[in-house]
Each structure stands twice: as structure tokens, then as C-alpha cells.
Amino acid sequence: MESDLGLWAIPIAMLGGAIRVSTPFLFVSLGEVLTERSGRINLGLEGTLVFGAMSGYAIAYLSGSAWAGVLAAAFAGSLFGLLHGLICSLPRVNDIAIGIAMMLLGMGLAFFFGKPFIQPVAPDLPSIGFGWWSDIPQLEAALRVNVLFLIGAAAAVALWWMFRSTRVGLVIRVVGDSTDAARAMGLRPAVIRTLATAAGGAFAGVGGAYLSLFYPGSWSEGISSGQGLMAVALVIFARWNPIACFWAAILFGAAGALGPALQSVGVSEGYYLFYAAPYVLTLGVLIATSSPNRAMVGAPGELSITK
């Protein structure tokens, strides 16, 4: 039944890892794209992710429905985003500092309210087996795709289309590129940015629900280990393009699976080095694509880090 695949195990494990691990990266980075395109940075998404994981797990356990958990996580995430957006709408408030405060608040609240939910077992989100055509069990396991991954992929395309060819997308982009131009058009930048941050928070909350309700599939205080922060960095890596966010998330998921996969086929020396692969990759790509002469391509003009 079990077959020995030799070195083929590595690409299969990376494919599986890409599908399993990428979803939280994808949702958080999509949420951050939405927020940053409107001209704000929300560094607090790590806290939103952890709180989303906790609230999603808690509601799923209490209601018996994993989807109710996802909705609750999205709702909780949007509240965090809304709070960030409202505070940042006050004059002379720094969005990065508020983001860090929101990150600590989100994690602290999640740990506090999450205590009673570490032990119980909540229902899992369903997944669809796309590997039925294969009789290799490893491939079948790798192609067990969660519904949220598919929703995330669809959302990436939808956001890309929204920014490109809809009025809403245009409004967000105008606000993000020039506050003055937006005001001249009769838009209210603060309101639009707050709404964009709230929507971004909802995305991050869903990413958290994926962590606690599907993979790894349980709530614990160490569940995120910095994935929310990495996803914020992914947005710069992906140059504020939702489709690129999707590929970046896939890349990070696959790179994360590299370490365990190599050990499982017997390449066991230097695993600490393999675990650093995603970060080395990021550094490499950022250095390769950077330029001292021009601003970052695709960066919204009103973003506080690029101004």
C-alpha cells in the first residue's frame, strides 16, 4: 500500500506543504494589500490572526459548526481592523505604532479568552480530495485541498479584478495614491481607509480560523509563530498585487515544507539551515528586485513607509 517514492517525495511534500501551509499567508497578505492600497499599514494583523484563530475555534466548538467559527473569526477580525482604522483617522496618529499596539492587544486578548478552549476539540473545516485519480497515497494526501484555500485563491483573483476594473477598486487606489486627489474628487479618505482596514482585518481573521480549524487544526497559544508578520512582509514582496500574493504565499508554504521533507528522505544534516530557506529566499528576491534609483514599483503613494 505505502510506496517508497525516493526523491520524488520532496516535490510531492512541497506541493502538499504549499497547499496546506499557504492559506493563512494568503488571507493575511490579501487583507494587508487591501489596507495598504488605501494608504495605511496595519502591522497588527499578527494579533488579528491569533485572535481569529482563537475566536474561530471557540465559536466552532460552542456552536458545533466550523463555518460559524470562520464567520466569527471574520467578524472579530473586522472589529480589530475597524478599531485600528478609527484610531488612525485621528490627527497625528502613526499607523505603524498603532499596528504594533493592536498586535499585542490581539494576542493578549486571544490568550486571555482562549484559556478554556485549549483542551476541547472543535469540528474541522471540510476538505476536498483532488487526488482520487492517483493511487499514490502521498499524492492523495497532498491534494487534500481545504475549501478555504480555494476561496482564498478566488479572492485573490477577485481583488485583482476589483482594483483593476471596478469603481470601488479605483476609489481605494485613489485614496491610497493621493489624499489630495481623493479629496478633490469629493471622497472621504479617512472613511475609506477605515473600511479598507476593517475588510483587511476580516481577511486576517479568516486566515486565523484556517490555522485553528484545519491546519494544524487546534487552538494553542503558539499557533501562529509569526506567520501574520511574515504575511505583512509578503505584501511588499508581492508588490501590492493580489495575484502575486497568491504565488508568494504558495512559495512560502512550499519552502516551509522543505525542511521536514528533506529530513524524511534522509537528508538530515543542517536542518536549521533549511528552515531558514523562506527568509533567505525573501532577502534574495528583495535584493534582486531593489533599485537605488527609483521608488518601489506598485507602492501606494500615501503609504507612510514609502513617503
Partner: protein, 370 residues
């Protein structure tokens, strides 16, 4: 090493104590037969794992008459733990501390202990040696024996003859558990191998899940682990239709059908005994160890899938261990790089201190320590 806020705090406290002592004659002293005990955990104390096992011990101490327990969780193995220990001593009046994580010992416990000669520091898993502060003690259980028993059951239940082990860091305790697990299984069938994957950290949920999936992909059909919270590994492995052996605490509720047995700590008995010794004015040994017979560790009840053959050998070996002086490591024994560990006829008894500085994986383990 600088620690300005706490050096200042200690200075203030010291001078206040001096003033108080002259004015009132004595400083906050507890009534006879009363004491405050501090427990410090590296993670959450309900993690289905290492910290939960210690917290169960703390709960038993809390139930003792005349004892107050203070606890702090999620304390990092950094200067943080020194601050926590000092505040437990200075503000809560703790006279017995249990900093329970491996990394707390050196340098943190060893740095704080000389400043408080009247406080007793009891550290789990550390290796106290002559020359270290005498108010420091290290205690631990021979949990490798539990992994050996896990291995015996696993050896009976595996179809593929490949076992899987998700390990955190290549420290002696972890290596000993991996080796013992395989040696137990090889009592059943010498052809069995054990694949190990190191995650590099005590608690990394996603990486532990990935490691478990990689083991299942590699054909391992019985999986165990040594990470702080085994919940993710147990649930993921059971989800991949693998059998699981537990560690630290009883994880049977997480996978009732797939759970075979588990190596558990039995801290309530150990901690209440130590606290009682202190209350009675006695001294705790600086170096305290014990196994199954001494009640330091215990095994989870065997799961429903365990066959009769496995149960019989499990029971027989456990009975052998209860007599004391069990030797899981018997020569001839090689490591997985071909170096000889034990020659024909040589053994490591369970009490052998050489086991606590283990830096190799035995032949049959697929993996590397660095």
C-alpha cells in the same frame, strides 16, 4: 550581564528590609509550617504536554495544608525567567521554586541562586554537579523507559516496520527518548527503523504538523514525539491513519482509536513529597532521579487497538522495570554513524549518568543530531 531595573529593585528592597528590620525587629516572615512555592512554565499550563504535567503537580501541591502556590506561564528561557524568579522571591515570598523548563537551568537558575541562599531552587531535567550552588537541586525521571515501553507496543503494531518521531531539539533528553523508542521496538523485530524529524523549537504548531505529514508520507505508521505540546502531532498523525504513542501527559482523548499508550510524567507524587520534606525541615537531595518504580513516571492505559501479544510483552517488561535497575541499552550497540557505543556485554543501567549526556542516535534511527 546587566539588569538595571531589578538590580535597583533589589537594592531598594534590601535597604527597605534593613530599615524594617531595625524598626520592627523582623521582616515578613511566615508562620511556622507555612511556605510559598513558585512554579514557572515555559508555555501554557494546559498544553496537553510538558507544562500540563508540571501544572498537575503544582495543583497537587496547592491542595496541601499551609502551602501557597504562585504560578507563571509563558516565561521565556531568557533573562525573563530570572526576573520572574526574583519577583516570586521578593514580592511573593517564595522559598521554594520550580523553574520547570530545561533551558532555565544554565545560566539563569545558576545566576540567581547564589543571591538567595535561603531559597531552594528545584530544576527539572538539569544536571546538578559538584561545585554548583548547594541551594539548587535537579530532579528528573527516567522517561526514556516510558519511550522504551512505547516502542515495544509500537514494534508490535507497525506494519511497515518504520516508526516516526517528531523531535524538538537534539538535546540529550530528546535523543535518549528517540533511541529508547527504537530499542524498545527492536525487542519485537530487529529490522524496525525509526525516522526522526527535528523541528528546531519546543513549540511550533505548523512545523510539527508538517513534520508529522512528512513522516506519514515516508511510510511511518506509528508516530510519537518529544515536543512541548503533543496535541498537534497526535491529531495530525491520527488524521493520517497512523497509530500514535503519547508523551508528557495522556493524549488518549485526542485520538481514542489510534492511541496505543504513552509515557507520562507523574509529578504530583514527586512534588508533594519534596514540599513535605521542606515543611518538615528536611533537605531535598541536590540530585534526585527516579523511574517507574519510584513513581516518577507512569504509562497511559493501553488503547483499544493494542494486540494481546503487544500487551503481554508490555506488561512483562514493565514488571521487569518495577524491580529497578533496568538496562534498555545493552551491548553490542552502535550509533547510526557506525561508532561503537557499547561493546558486547556492556550495559547502561537506567541510573547511569552517561545516559544524560547522550549525543548520538543509535543504529536504526534515520536522522542526524545537527
Amino acid at each position: 550581564m546587566t539588569m538595571p531595573p531589578f538590580a535597583r529593585r533589589r537594592f531598594l528592597q534590601g535597604s527597605a528590609a534593613l530599615a524594617g528590620a531595625t524598626a520592627l525587629g523582623a521582616l515578613p516572615s511566615m508562620a511556622a509550617g507555612e511556605m510559598t512555592v513558585g512554579f514557572i512554565y515555559v508555555g501554557p499550563k494546559d498544553d496537553f504536554g510538558y507544562n500540563q504535567a508540571h501544572a498537575e503537580g503544582a495543583a497537587a501541591v496547592k491542595a496541601m495544608a499551609g502551602v501557597t502556590v504562585v504560578e507563571e506561564e509563558n516565561v521565556a528561557e531568557t533573562i525573563d525567567v530570572q526576573n520572574t524568579m526574583e519577583s516570586m522571591i521578593n514580592f511573593d515570598g517564595a522559598t521554594l521554586l520550580f523553574p520547570t523548563s530545561f533551558g532555565y537551568f544554565d545560566p539563569h537558575v545558576l545566576a540567581v541562586a547564589p543571591k538567595y541562599p535561603d531559597v531552594r531552587f528545584e530544576h527539572a531535567a538539569g544536571l546538578w554537579t559538584e561545585g554548583m550552588p548547594t541551594n539548587v537541586g535537579s530532579y528528573f525521571g527516567y522517561i526514556g523507559l516510558g519511550q522504551y515501553l512505547n516502542g515495544i507496543v509500537a514494534g508490535h503494531m507497525t506494519q511497515t516496520k518504520r516508526l516516526g518521531f517528531v523531535a524538538a531539539k537534539p538535546i540529550p533528553q530528546v535523543l535518549q527518548n528517540i533511541n529508547s523508542f527504537l530499542l524498545g521496538a527492536r525487542q519485537v523485530d530487529p529490522a524496525i527503523t525509526c525516522q526522526v524529524i527535528f523541528t528546531g523549537e519546543w513549540s511550533l504548531a505548523v512545523k510539527e504538523a508538517e513534520a508529522t505529514n512528512a513522516l506519514a508520507d515516508a511510510g511511518c505508521d506509528v508516530i510519537t514525539c518529544h515536543v512541548d505540546g503533543p496535541k498537534v502531532v497526535i491529531e495530525t498523525a491520527a488524521g493520517r491513519d497512523c497509530f500514535v504513542c503519547g508523551y508528557h501527559a495522556n493524549q488518549a482523548p485526542l485520538a481514542p482509536e489510534k492511541y496505543l499508550t504513552g509515557a507520562e510524567w507523574n509529578w504530583p507524587g514527586v512534588y508533594t513529597r519534596m514540599v513535605q520534606t521542606m515543611l518538615d525541615g528536611g533537605t531535598i537531595s541536590n540530585f534526585d532521579r527516579g523511574g517507574l518504580a519510584e513513581g516518577y513516571i507512569k504509562m497511559s492505559p493501553l488503547g483499544p487497538a493494542v494486540t494481546d501479544a503487544a500487551r503481554n510483552q508490555f506488561d512483562a517488561t514493565q514488571a521487569e522495570m518495577m524491580k529497578g535497575g533496568f538496562a534498555a541499552y545493552q551491548g553490542p550497540l552502535m550509533d547510526n554513524n557506525g561508532n561503537q557505543i557499547l561493546a558486547e556485554g556492556e550495559v547502561f543501567l537506567e541510573t547511569d549518568i552517561a545516559l544524560e549526556s547522550m549525543d548520538y542516535l543509535v543504529e536504526g534511527v534515520i536522522g542526524s543530531t545537527s
